[in-house]
Chain length 162, copies 2
C-alpha cells in the first residue's frame, strides 16, 4: 500500500528543480512573462523559479540610466507573476556568485539580451564545484516592445507626436 | 461520514464569489498589483477574479491617447498576475452592461481613478435585476508612480534630463 511517507522516496528520481532567472524588469511587458514562463518550464513539473531583480544602482551601471520604477516595486511586481515562486533583490556589486552559492540552482536561464550574465555565470561554473545547466531563452513579442528600453523610446516618440 | 459528494451542500453557505475589476493596465505597476490583490480579497476565500482589460480604442477615447502596449499583450500580462483568474478584452463601445450580464459578478471593484465606471455600473444596477456589491479600492504606492500616465510623464522627464 502506498503510504504518504513513502512518496518522497518513490518520486526521488524527479526531485524539485530550482531555476534561477534575473533581470531589471523595469516596465514589465509580455516578453518578460514569456521569458519567465519558459524559464520555469525548463525545470519540469514542480520546478521552483527564483528571480533576482537587479538593484537600482546595478541597472544604472549596466544600462547607463536609472530605472523608472524603484527596486522594491520592481521586485514586488515580479513576485506577483504566476510563474515566479520568489523574487529577491540582487547585490549592489553586480556579483552573481553569492546568489548561486546560496540558491544552488539546477538551471540558470539566460534571456536573449543577457550575454553579460552568461559570461559571468560560466566563469563562476569553473571557479566553484556546483553542477548547474545554462539554458538560453529566445526573444518574444514584436521587436519594438520586447524590452523596457524600447518601450521607453516608444513613449518618448508618442509624446513628441502630440 | 462526510462524503465528497456532500461537500457542495455543506459548504453551500459560502459559495465562490466572482469579483469583477477593470482597467487599461498599459504599463503594469505596483499600484495595479495591490488593486487586484484587494479586489480578489474582497470576495473572500476561493473568490474568482475576472478582469476586463480595456480595448485600444476604448483607452484612446477615455484618455485621449493610444496605449503604449497593444490590447492582446496588456491582456496576457494581466492574466499572468497571481490574483487574476481570467483576463478578458472589453467591448469597443465602452459598455460594461454586457460584461455584467454575462459574468453576473457578486462584487464589482472600483479603483481610485475609476469614478466613470462607478457611475455606469450604478446606472446598470438600476436597469437590470442583478444583485452586486460595489467596493472601492484606495490608492497605493508613491503618488508619482501609481498610474501609467504618471509613469509615461516620468519617462519623458528622464529623457529630457539626459
Amino acid at each position: 500500500m502506498v503510504n504518504i511517507l513513502s512518496l518522497p522516496l518513490i518520486t526521488g528520481a524527479s526531485k524539485m528543480k530550482t531555476v534561477l532567472a534575473s533581470g531589471s524588469f523595469d516596465l514589465v511587458h509580455y516578453g518578460h512573462i514569456r521569458f519567465l514562463e519558459e524559464a520555469k518550464k525548463s525545470g519540469g513539473k514542480d520546478a521552483r523559479l527564483v528571480v533576482i531583480v537587479a538593484r537600482d544602482k546595478t541597472v544604472e551601471k549596466l544600462k547607463g540610466n536609472k530605472p523608472v520604477i524603484p527596486e522594491d516595486q520592481r521586485r514586488a511586481v515580479v513576485e506577483a507573476l504566476k510563474p515566479v515562486d520568489e523574487a529577491l533583490l540582487g547585490f549592489e556589486n553586480m556579483s552573481i556568485i553569492d546568489v548561486i552559492l546560496q540558491l544552488k540552482p539546477d538551471i540558470i536561464a539566460i534571456g536573449h539580451d543577457q550575454s553579460y550574465i552568461e559570461e559571468e555565470v560560466k566563469r563562476i561554473g569553473i571557479m566553484i564545484d556546483l553542477d548547474f545547466k545554462i539554458i538560453h531563452i529566445g526573444r518574444f513579442g514584436p521587436s519594438d516592445l520586447n524590452s523596457s528600453s524600447k518601450i521607453r523610446r516608444k513613449i518618448v516618440e508618442l509624446e513628441e507626436q502630440t
